[in-house]
């Protein structure tokens, strides 16, 4: 068996020593995992039904519980879509913050709290499954790798990775326009957070085309601006932002969108 030369082994040894996460990265990862676990444990309202879309399922019922959920989702969207998406993007681009409450999620995890479906639970039909090494080795089944990215601050369940963002597809079975609107925007937000701006744009386009009197046009416009910038179309993103600014001057979230798009204050 050939061995590495001393020089090359030194390169490997030194490189490997430098390969681990820094203390600050460790802290950020810990905080992020804790926040996401906490969010998943507490954010079961967006639980996807088998084969369905989480957001769509949550808003499509039309029951009393659905109405309460709608109010909750509206709050989430008001605070989350405008600010959360911006924050999600901020986080997604490596600008995460230290100091998030790290312990809560870990404690919950160690108490055995079950995460919401979709947090790697492999419940949704749209989730990817992997015949990984463990499975092939006849050992513990290789875990399903499903949605993994959640918004900053853990405002909702982690993303699903392999379904379209067009959440409205599911809600069109009978949900109200508001239901559908919420579903479209939630789908777009999730797509954006999972680094798939094209899917976000598709959902927003459906939102624009299919809703005659949208009540969340401002949020949709800001999301669209961010999605355009994220898709590598900053000029169009800035133009969309300028239009939103003209229509809703000083709208909450526009500052964050402007920063993301590199638009002037």
């Amino acid at each position: 068996m050939s061995e590495l030369s001393h020089a090359t082994r030194d390169v490997v040894t030194e490189g490997a020593r430098a390969l681990g996460p820094s203390p600050s990265a460790r802290a950020r990862i810990r905080a992020g995992v804790a926040a996401r676990i906490s969010a998943a444990a507490g954010g079961a309202e967006l639980r996807p039904e088998p084969g369905g879309d989480g957001a769509a399922t949550a808003v499509a019922g039309g029951s009393a519980a659905g109405s309460a959920l709608k109010v909750w989702l509206m709050g989430l969207l008001a605070a989350g879509i405008v600010g959360g998406v911006a924050a999600g993007w901020f986080f997604g681009r490596g600008g995460r913050q230290d100091g998030a409450p790290a312990s809560a999620g870990f404690e919950a995890a160690n108490r055995g709290s079950k995460p919401a479906a979709g947090v790697g639970a492999g419940a949704g039909a749209g989730e990817r499954t992997g015949g990984g090494a463990g499975e092939r080795a006849g050992a513990d089944p290789a875990p399903t790798v499903s949605g993994t990215r959640s918004p900053a601050g853990g405002a909702s369940a982690p993303r699903r990775t392999s379904r379209g963002a067009g959440a409205g597809r599911h809600t069109s079975r009978g949900g109200s326009d508001l239901d559908r609107e919420v579903a479209f925007l939630t789908g777009a937000r999730r797509a954006l957070q999972s680094g798939e701006p094209a899917r976000a744009l598709a959902a927003l386009e459906r939102h624009r085309r299919e809703l005659r009197a949208p009540q969340m046009a401002r949020e949709a416009a800001l999301l669209r601006a961010e999605a355009l910038c994220a898709a590598g179309r900053p000029r169009e993103g800035r133009r969309a932002l300028a239009e939103a600014d003209a229509r809703w001057p000083g709208a909450p979230g526009s500052a964050a969108a402007r920063a993301l798009c590199g638009a002037p204050e």
């Binding site: 068996m1 050939s2 061995e3 590495l4 020089a7 090359t8 030194d10 390169v11 490997v12 030194e14 490189g15 490997a16 020593r17 430098a18 390969l19 681990g20 996460p21 990265a25 460790r26 950020r28 990862i29 810990r30 992020g32 995992v33 996401r36 998943a40 490596g94 995460r96 870990f106 995890a109 160690n110 055995g112 079950k114 995460p115 947090v119 790697g120 990817r128 992997g130 990984g132 090494a133 463990g134 092939r136 080795a137 006849g138 050992a139 513990d140 290789a142 875990p143 399903t144 790798v145 499903s146 993994t148 990215r149 959640s150 680094g195 798939e196 898709a231 590598g232 179309r233 000029r235």
Partner: protein, 187 residues
Amino acid sequence: MAVADALPTGRAIPLDFEAVYEQQLGFVWRTLAAAGVPESRLEDASQDVFVIVHGKLAEFEGRSKLTTWIYAIARHVALDYIRKVSRERRRQRAFAEVPDGEATAPSPEEEAGEVQARRVLLELLERLEPGRRDVFVLVEIEGIPVREVARMLAIKENTAWSRLRLARSDLERHAARLRARDGEGLR
């Protein structure tokens, strides 16, 4: 050299997530990095791995070593990220006005020796054929015995040895080229 410790198989008590996290973060990070996840995405990808681990930990039955199980998760997550980054780069190339975030000029910190050492190693690993790289990383960097690595990768032990030998040979060749190219970057 940090070794990704594996808990014994056939465990009888539930695993403590925090302990798993503390024990495995370094292993997960290195696995993701060696698989080609860009440095800028390693924190996100590590988070993803541990969110999945948390979701599935109760189902882990101890039929395999914990390291093996987590390795499978990390590899899946890594593939996800690599695909995503590849898509983003294609998109960025299509819209030339957006700079490639992964190819920015090195910062002062990046000039530091530690970062340089990491870069060199990752560059060398990137040049290895993936199957060989997997074996090399697990054996040479994680210190996992070849027999266990063969189990982790679901390959024969002889195959693992063969890949390790080839990976070492390839790495020597690439390192020699890098020395010729950079001189100071490698001794």
